[in-house]
């Protein structure tokens, strides 16, 4: 197996792809968003449930996509649930920055935990979108909830 491939399909990615965490759509939730990647047809439906002080009570999802995007959704849910939106904002920002760096930046495992396993994709511009799609859906859900609230 080529070293580039093994950097992509890490054990953790395969693990999350095979046994996605927090998958499936659950109640209760504050908002549900649906995102599509028009180039490949990948889809994610994501539900977000926050407390009044923006603690992430639950995040559930249904993802159709490649191993990278499914693993990314699983790892994201693992990272986010039980934390506050504010606390997780630097995590999201760092993860996105590193993913878009084309491999120039190294990831901070203290911040992004298992997300580190996804960074192999940063070298493949065609895959960056796959990995970021769940995060985009999460952000869209946040925007919606905040809009609903005022």
């Amino acid at each position: 197996m080529s070293s580039q491939l093994s950097a992509l399909y890490t054990e953790l990615v395969i693990e999350h792809d095979k046994r996605p965490q927090h998958a499936g759509l659950r109640d209760p939730f504050d908002t549900e968003v649906h995102h599509v990647n028009p180039t490949c047809g990948d889809e994610i439906t994501l539900r977000l449930h926050l407390t009044d002080d923006e603690q992430i009570e639950d995040l559930s999802y249904d993802a159709i996509g490649c191993a990278m995007s499914r693993a990314s959704a699983s790892i994201m849910a693992d990272l986010l649930i039980g934390h506050s939106v504010e606390e997780m904002d630097p995590v999201r920002a760092h993860f996105e920055e590193v993913m878009r760096s084309r491999g120039r930046l190294e990831g901070d495992e203290d911040l992004i935990g298992d997300g580190i396993a996804l960074l192999g994709a940063a070298k493949f511009p065609g895959r960056v979108k796959c990995v970021l799609m769940p995060w985009k859906a999460y952000q869209a859900a946040l925007v919606e909830i905040r809009a609903l609230e005022g």
Binding site: L5, C40, G41, D42, I64
Partner: protein, 424 residues
């Protein structure tokens, strides 16, 4: 012009394509199996464009000076060359567009823009029907959806059948006196299926419907003759037939081009202009607003020369042999299912497949690591994929420069991919 004047020697052909020397990384040779998305350019095409740009470049049609004449000769000469390549009765039936997509939009928009002076058969209005097929590329679907939306016409479609060909069982009820246009692809860019155009043209004629043919995937790969096909309009792209991007072709019967209103408006397509209104030039000028793709037309003509030197019969035979080889090889791999008809003369060039339980992105990624450049996703034919319950496929497509060894590498690569994911 299909008689070849050169032996079909793949190695010699390969040496015409500079890009085939490219390494993806120091260990990985590039194997380009994505000609269905865009083809590579032989040296002859690149050189023709560079020669034009360094010797004859000027604005066409508008100038009286010698450079303008030279450029106009080159541009209009390209039009003649392409008319000849397509078997068009006259170069005045060749409209240069930016791609096949624009050509299809042009027809779809013009059908909706007529007024009382436009013959009724060239005007789609409320209550009319437009017939497409379930295998269309988005380029030959959405412009018709939009025409239907704008005019109140009804869009209907010929469904796909389980054997990956069009299901013509209900054609009689789909194609009726209400049908103004049948728009369909000559060859599916996913399935490789070649549609029975003669039969469909006859059926359309019987009800007075016009036939618009999307030849983006056929004209580059087989002997092609608009007169023989009997259709009314044909759209194709330069970049899929060894020519430049930025140029496409709409062929239309002259009497139809003459009767439809213009689409894009501006310079070079007018007869007279006042501040209040304009009258329009005869075709093809009427449909070529603004400065056209001049050097690209020259490049496309060189691509026609190149293909005709090889001979389109031989091109088709070569690509068909590769297709057969690929189909046989892939059939032997467990968990791999070809999405397209079995080998036959009615199927060519593109071989799409599904690897059970694996997303095409992942399949394409492993193949890429082996140098195999194949396309993954819905290939701009989303409804087709939905029909077969797929989110996407992996597609290899073959070109004049593809070798049997490359096809074997594909087969081995797919087998390796299946193993790779199993091993994880």
């Amino acid at each position: 012009m299909s008689a070849s004047s050169r032996e079909f020697d793949v190695e010699a052909i390969r040496s015409d394509f500079p890009i085939l020397q490219r390494m993806l990384d120091p260990d990985t040779t590039m194997i380009y199996l994505d000609g269905g998305a865009t083809s590579q350019r032989p040296r002859q095409v690149i050189d023709a464009e560079v020669a034009f740009l360094t010797q004859d470049n000027a604005a066409v049609k508008r100038g009286a000076h010698r450079m303008a004449s030279a450029a106009t000769d080159a541009y209009e000469g390209a039009r003649e060359r392409i008319a000849d390549f397509l078997g068009a009765p006259s170069p005045d039936e060749i409209v240069f567009t930016k791609n096949a997509t624009e050509a299809l939009n042009l027809v779809a928009h013009s059908f909706g823009n007529g007024d009382s002076s436009t013959p009724a058969r060239l005007r789609v209005t409320e209550g009319d029907e437009i017939l497409v097929t379930e295998m269309e590329h988005h380029a030959n679907l959405i412009p018709w959806q939009e025409l239907a939306r704008r005019t109140g016409a009804r869009l209907r479609w010929v469904p796909l059948s389980e054997d990956f060909t069009l299901d013509l069982t209900d054609l009689g009820s789909l194609l009726t006196e209400r049908t103004k246009v049948l728009a369909l692809t000559h060859q599916s860019n996913v399935l490789g299926t070649v549609n029975p155009i003669a039969q469909l043209v006859e059926a359309a004629r019987a009800v007075g419907a016009l036939v618009v043919l999307d030849a983006a995937q056929s004209a580059p790969h087989m002997p092609f003759d608009v007169a023989e096909l009997g259709v009314d309009f044909v759209a194709l792209s330069g970049h899929k037939m060894l020519g430049p991007t930025g140029i496409g072709v709409l062929w239309g019967r002259y009497e139809l081009l003459e009767a439809i209103p213009p689409f894009l408006t501006g310079g070079s397509m007018i007869e007279t202009v006042t501040m209040e209104r304009a009258t329009f030039a005869e075709p093809p000028a009427r449909f070529e607003a603004g400065t056209p793709p001049i050097s690209q037309a020259v490049g496309l003509a060189a691509a026609c020369d190149y293909l005709d030197t090889l001979g389109m019969e031989q091109v088709a035979a070569h690509e068909q042999a590769l297709t057969l080889r690929a189909l046989e090889g892939l059939a032997g791999i467990e968990d791999v299912r070809v999405i397209g008809p079995a080998a036959s003369p009615e199927r060519t060039g593109a071989v799409a497949f599904d690897v059970a339980g694996r997303h095409p992105h992942d399949v394409g990624q492993v193949l890429d690591s082996l140098g195999l450049q194949v396309r993954v996703g819905h290939h701009c034919a989303w409804p087709l994929h939905r029909k077969y319950g797929l989110h996407g496929t992996t597609r290899a497509s073959f070109s004049v420069h593809t070798t049997a060894a490359e096809v074997d590498a594909l087969i081995a690569g797919v087998a390796h991919t299946v193993d790779f994911f199993r091993s994880l």
